[in-house]
Amino acid sequence: MEAVDPHIEEILSSVSDPEIPVLTIVDMGIIKKVEQKEDHILIHITPTYSGCPAMDTIEDDIVKAFDEEGLKAKVKHILSPAWTTDMITDKGKQALEEYGIAAPKDASIDKAALNGEKGKIKCTHCGSMNTKMVSRFGSTACKALFQCEDCGEPFDYFKCLR
């Protein structure tokens, strides 16, 4: 995101992904541009996955957050450049880990892990590397399901997308 007015950034940072409440939409990297129009603020957002059902909710939440500050905002969906997991900020990745979702790894580790190679993703519960993939598809389009073979707990891994 380009540098924007701190007040606007603050409002945007109060909106989070409804499915991953610890991740603000700013940290998720989906805010691409903020434009001051004559009578409203235009927020450009890009979807994570084409079919992400959170996008409509996020749009409503943005409009509502600005409304509460007495400002009028509109949201525009843009597709290009396509979102990648590299757009998630470091703060966002840390928030994911603390929430119990393993943050996306670089492409080669990601590929190996998703091809079923064990020991690539760190368990978010106990920190063990003794983990295995259970399913390439998880509870939402952006996640895969893993399990720790030490503590036995299942956890989500945020898939690398680029």
Binding site: P47, S80, A82, S139
Partner: protein
């Protein structure tokens, strides 16, 4: 770029969206009925990706049409002969082998199509394709893995997959056989020259079948027509399910 006829472009976008949409609907039927939990989630995730991509296409189509309609109108309120989906995707979920074979036949084509469309002369189509291709790469990986598992699994799973392949293979050639609209779009650099994709489509598909210990069907009478609105009997049943809410309660919203 030459000025593109709007009606033609609209028709092309409808074609791009319809096959993915009908396949997405077929996959949606499996929600809660997948053979195991992870597969159930995978198939419905794929369905969601496809509907997301179709929504992007149809939003664009509605914009081109300029009649104030939405993507929902385009998706939900057409008659059967106006749907331009290929015959392959409307084939039923007879068993898991049919689901996987249908998916894989489509994924191979879909990925090749998107490889071209990311550089389409139409910028919006290119943007949608650049978004979609990352998702479809994942679909292809998933269906290839399952083709190998079923083919190389037990005698029963091999037999079921062979049956599915024998029955569905006849619908594959339609995917890479261009309609009049697709031919014109190829000339304008908006879409690929499908005929030129045919050889590599069958090369990679047949190589996979062989690797999965499945016999490549011979002496096939290929079936065509869906892309021109002539569907198999299954289509009417899909649409009656798909369109029910919008037909019974026009303009309803969630």
């Amino acid at each position: 770029m030459k000025e593109i006829n709007k009606e033609l472009l609209f028709d092309y976008i409808i074609q791009l969206g319809d096959s993915s949409m009908i396949l997405g609907q077929r996959l949606g039927e499996l929600c809660g009925h997948g053979p195991e939990l992870e597969t159930d989630i995978a198939l419905t995730n794929i369905s969601l990706d496809l509907f997301g991509q179709v929504r992007n296409y149809f939003q664009y189509a509605a914009e081109i049409q300029g009649e104030g309609k939405t993507e929902d109108d385009i998706a939900m309120l057409r008659y059967e002969h106006e749907y331009r989906s290929a015959l392959l995707v409307e084939q039923p979920n007879k068993d898991f082998a049919y689901v996987i074979a249908r998916q894989n036949f489509y994924d191979h084509y879909h990925y090749m199509l998107l490889e071209f469309l990311v550089n389409s002369k139409d910028e919006q189509i290119a943007a949608i394709a650049r978004k979609s291709i990352k998702e479809v790469e994942y679909h292809l990986d998933f269906s290839i893995t399952w083709m190998k598992r079923l083919g190389g699994g037990t005698e029963e799973s091999n037999c079921r997959l062979q049956d599915a392949v024998d029955n569905l293979y006849r619908y594959t050639k339609e995917l890479t056989t261009p309609t009049e609209t697709e031919k014109q779009m190829a000339e304008l650099g908006v879409g690929p020259d499908l005929t030129s994709l045919q050889a590599s489509y069958y090369n990679s598909l047949n190589a996979l079948l062989t690797e999965a210990e499945i016999n490549v069907p011979k002496e096939i009478v290929f079936q065509f027509g869906g892309k021109e609105g002539r569907h198999t009997e299954y289509m009417g049943y899909i649409l009656s399910d798909f369109q029910y809410m919008q037909r019974a309660y026009p303009n309803m919203k969630w």
